[in-house]
Amino acid sequence: MLKIEDLWVSIGDKQVLKGVNMSVGEGETHALFGPNGCGKTTLLSTIAGIPRYQVNEGTIWFKGVDITRMPMHERARLGIGIAFQHPPTIRGLKVSDMIKLCNPQADAGKILKDLDFVEFADREVNRGFSGGEVKRSEMVQLLAQEPDFVMLDEPDSGVDLENIKVIGRAINVLTQKDQKPSARKKSGVIITHFGHILDYMSADKAHVMIEGTIVCSGSPREILEQIKVNGYEGCVGCLCPV
């Protein structure tokens, strides 16, 4: 589904990603761990195609297509979806209209109901939303968009337990974890700091990123346990296969 080869990315003069290699297969969901500022958000933003993230070297393959230089909206139309951590307010645009923009065929009523978001249908997108509401709004949009590959940047930050459950459920739908493994076609990558969300959704594999490279890959549970015990320092020089 997604293959990243020796990806070097800078923002302005700052080199953030330094040779990232990563591969996410069809039906797989990966978690991405790492300390603040290590480049996790940069990786997702680069895959999404946000212009200020400049690719200096390397290739991003998606469904066999080299998308490294592809404009953002074309990537979205090809099946890449992203939930933003701090999305902007869109003045004058109602949530219900945003759903239609994401996908005119989407069953807005059902999506809003599933995310307990019906009363927000006529509100302007993200205007005056609380932390949990912003996250649910992002999930609503992604469920409408139905991407084949979904990227989630800290969907559990600043969110209470009730909201984490709802969001975890939505992620499982987006990544088809509610279906049997052989039927799963959709994939995803999720950034999480504390792994709370992993209690409510399932990830097949995890990676640890430190200073712009992936230093460790393996089972999400094991890696999370290691980080809890030894911190991220313990991941440096770890012998886990990358």
Binding site: A48, I50, P51, P71, M72, H73, A76, R77, G81, I82, F84, P87, P88, I90, R91, G92, L93, M98, L101, C102, E124, Q141, Q145
Partner: protein, 405 residues
């Protein structure tokens, strides 16, 4: 003041340049227009006139409280469908209602500038609308000022009186046929809102690219009354300058102005001022303007004369192209202590983050720009009847409104 005295004052001001806006050579436009006969029903209007009216927010179908339709200088149709609401052409009203002399040219001085003087020196045309005390109209009164001929000078003088406890919604579409050439529209509007009366006054300008427009408006609101004035211009115009004034004369009176402008070319100098001269009055002026090449001067002025008044001005503008100019001028003029006036002004571009957000959902740059601009212009105008709200939303959703073009 007698008519002859008024004419005398007008004559003295016939060369007086306006305080704001580019100067216009009035005499380069024909002073006289062909008289047109009355029609029995609005449906009998030629199709291009109906289309032009529609694009200025005036649909000739649907429920209405009454209508007034003027082509050049001729009132071709008027009538009221609500008991207690009078709709007449101003000439007839002046002949039939002697009391109108107390209102005619009382809010807008006839010698304001050469444009008001020109209106005053010629036979009156325009509408007179009066709601008798306590009359409530839920449906809009639809009025249309249509300039059909080329090189014409259209002069209009409207007077609206909402008597105590009444409620009126007026929409005025000012428009030309799509093929119209140069023209000059001069419009005077005087709106009286008596005690506890409520008026919404919406004006949509949909002129041609060679039309110059100089409306002169003023309203006066008595205790407990309110006025909501909305000005919308989304299609190109050669030049437009207007600066209507609302005077809040009675305790607790409220004024709200909403201005929506979109200029691809041309010169627009638009704004409004509210004079708060009674306690516990409040006013709000919100302007959302977009330039894709045109020049917009956007003024919002509040004058607080007594304590215990509140006023807020919001002038926000987007420039979407390399060329184009938006000059935002919020002005707050406080004359005493104990008042509360504030403003918010911004001129800028579309936020890159907002664009990227929508593009991540699959919208192209142009589509995302268009969504953001429409949202920006979609000001929530309070107090409008649903039918009118819908018409205005339709206008702001016109296909042609999108950035970069």
């Amino acid at each position: 003041m007698s008519m002859s005295r008024l004419e005398e004052k007008a004559k003295k001001a016939k060369d007086k340049e306006a305080a704001l806006g580019t100067d216009i050579d009035i005499d380069s436009y024909e002073a006289e227009s062909e008289e047109m006969g009355e029609i029995e029903a609005l449906e009998m209007l030629p199709e291009d006139v109906q289309t032009a009216a529609l694009s200025a927010g005036v649909s000739l179908t649907g429920e209405s409280a009454g209508d007034y339709f003027q082509v050049d200088q001729s009132a071709v149709h008027r009538g009221s469908s609500v008991e207690g609401i009078e709709v007449m052409d101003i000439g007839t009203a002046l002949r039939e209602h002697s009391y109108l002399a107390d209102y005619y040219w009382k809010l807008v001085p006839i010698d304001t500038d050469k444009y008001t003087a020109d209106v005053g020196m010629h036979p009156p045309a325009g509408y007179f609308i009066r709601a008798k005390p306590g009359t409530v109209s839920t449906f809009p009164l639809k009025t249309c000022l249509f300039m059909g001929g080329k090189n014409k000078r259209q002069r209009v003088h409207n007077v609206v009186i909402a008597e105590e406890g009444s409620r009126l919604h007026i929409i005025t579409g000012c428009t030309t046929p799509s093929h119209a050439g140069r023209g000059l529209h001069l419009g005077v509007s005087e709106v009286y809102v008596k005690k506890n009366a409520h008026v919404t006054f919406t004006m949509v300008h949909n002129w041609g690219e060679e039309v110059e427009v100089r409306p002169r408006g003023a309203s006066r609101v008595e205790a407990g009354g309110s006025i909501s004035e909305n000005y919308i211009t989304l299609t190109p115009v050669k030049s437009l300058q207007a600066f209507p004034t609302a005077t809040l004369a009675g305790e607790g009176a409220v004024a709200s102005f909403n201005t929506i402008m979109y200029a691809r070319r041309g010169n627009i100098d638009i704004g409004n001022q509210t004079i708060l001269e009674a306690p516990r009055t409040s006013a709000e002026s919100i302007a959302r303007v977009v330039s894709t090449g045109g020049e917009i001067i956007n003024r919002g002025r509040m004058v607080g004369k007594v304590p215990d008044v509140r006023a807020h001005v919001e002038c926000v503008g987007l420039i979407l192209t390399e060329k184009g100019r938006i000059y935002s001028i919020p002005e707050l003029d406080g004359w005493c202590g104990g008042l509360d006036m504030s403003h918010e002004a911004a001129v800028g571009k579309i936020s890159q983050v907002e664009l990227e957000y929508l593009m991540a959902r699959g919208l192209s740059t142009d589509e995302a720009t268009s969504v953001i601009v429409r949202g920006f212009l979609d000001v929530e105008i309070k107090g409008l009847p649903p039918a009118l709200k819908e018409e205005i939303q339709k206008i702001t959703k016109l296909e042609e409104i999108h950035g970069g073009s």
